[in-house]
Amino acid sequence: MSAATVYGCGAAVLVGLGLFGLIVDSQPLRKILAFNLIGGGVFLLFGAVARRGAAVGFGGDPVPQALVITGLVVAFAATALAMALLLRLVGITGQAGSRSDG
């Protein structure tokens, strides 16, 4: 078993853990955190695939590595937007709940 396989399996578990938190936790901030955990797992899957694709003198396939860098930046932008939405929701309703009062 290579390092890429070890981290690939770890990434699979990370996606499951993050998804569990996303479903079960009712606080929006915790959902955002859980979503970022899933993101970390998905990126790590890319990392495992990139490491396996090492060729022509590179330690890993640079194409998935570049995609992960792009993904990290986009994930940050999405997190910032989600936090701004959450703060605005709190500003309007006075509470941070995932359900409306109906």
Partner: protein, 310 residues
């Protein structure tokens, strides 16, 4: 090998703690630790460029954003009983997540051997551009369109955040006014660290063409230095209607797009560079792009405008 298994278990343990922690602040701290550990994993996977991005952006800046915004949420409120899922739902969710994890792990174990790779194509584009760092060559030449679109995504996210401002605050400065004691430790650290940090950020950006680093990592460090200075009250966020700020935000994508369009005339395709000047053109794109990304990241953390312009 033992180190890798131990590190993977540590990452999983910290991730589980982030989900299970009762206190939200503790969960955020767990997430920052998770990001730093992932950076070590990236080094083990021979991806130092990703490790730098993960440490600076995935862990550092995201952590700062979550701590800053999280501290403004109402605290100490336990969710009402009807919002907390019951045991049956939790068990069903756990089953679903275990299935998904098992499926993904099976895919990892059954990946084809030898692994497919685009490394030779990327190596060909390195030869054409004169860059020494394969990841930068992919970001700026082989898959330049991804990078261009990503900058546009950052800009769209910023427009989205700004548009969340209440009408009365539009045109004001983002974030809350910070006033700290000029003799405080935070001010001292900011005065000492910011010049060094700016230098490090520029260095990381500049070496990106031949070594691990690049415009995203450098821009993240520059943005972090601005955030540190503004936390210490040394600088104040500019009003979002300022013309120079708008120009700073669009100069990167505009130069990128202009040189991309010029590729039609010079090299026969969108975002293609003529071989004799490829590296020069890439550096001309990267400098304004780094400045724009740094401004976007700092403003994404600062949030929507909240205070009237003085």
């Amino acid at each position: 090998m033992t180190f890798d298994i131990g590190l993977a278990l540590l990452v999983l343990g910290v991730a589980a703690w982030t989900i299970a922690a009762r206190d939200t602040f503790a969960a955020v701290v767990g997430f920052v630790a998770y990001g730093l550990l992932l950076a070590v994993v990236w080094v083990r996977l021979e991806a130092p460029d990703v490790a730098l991005t993960e440490a600076a952006l995935g862990s550092g800046l995201t952590g700062g954003l979550l701590v800053g915004a999280g501290s403004r949420l109402p605290r100490g409120r336990t969710p009402p009983a009807e919002e907390t899922p019951g045991v049956a739902l939790k068990a069903a969710a756990a089953m679903l997540c275990i299935l998904i994890s098992a499926g993904l792990a099976a895919i990892v174990l059954l990946l084809p051997d030898p692994a497919p790779t685009l490394a030779p194509e990327a190596a060909a584009s390195i030869a054409a551009t004169g860059l020494g760092n394969p990841v930068t060559a992919v970001l700026m030449a082989y898959r330049a369109i991804d990078t261009l679109l990503e900058i546009v995504v950052l800009l769209l996210a910023l427009v989205g955040i700004w548009s969340l401002a209440p009408d009365r605050d539009w045109g004001g400065r983002p974030g809350r006014r910070v006033s700290t004691d000029p003799a405080s430790v935070l001010t001292f650290v900011a005065q000492l660290l910011v010049p060094v940090g700016i230098l490090v950020g520029i260095h990381i950006f500049w070496v990106g063409s031949v070594a691990p680093g690049g415009e995203f990592q450098g821009a993240t460090i520059l943005a972090a230095m601005w955030i540190l200075a503004s936390m210490a009250g040394l600088v104040d966020a500019p009003a979002v209607t300022r013309r120079w700020l708008r120009l700073l935000l669009i100069v990167g994508p505009a130069v990128f797009l202009a040189i991309g369009l010029a590729g039609f005339a010079l090299a026969g395709a969108f975002l293609a560079y003529p071989e004799s000047h490829a590296k020069l053109l890439i550096v001309i794109i990267e400098i304004p792009v780094t400045l724009s990304i740094a401004a976007m990241l700092a403003l994404l953390v600062a949030g929507p405008p909240e205070r009237a312009q003085r």
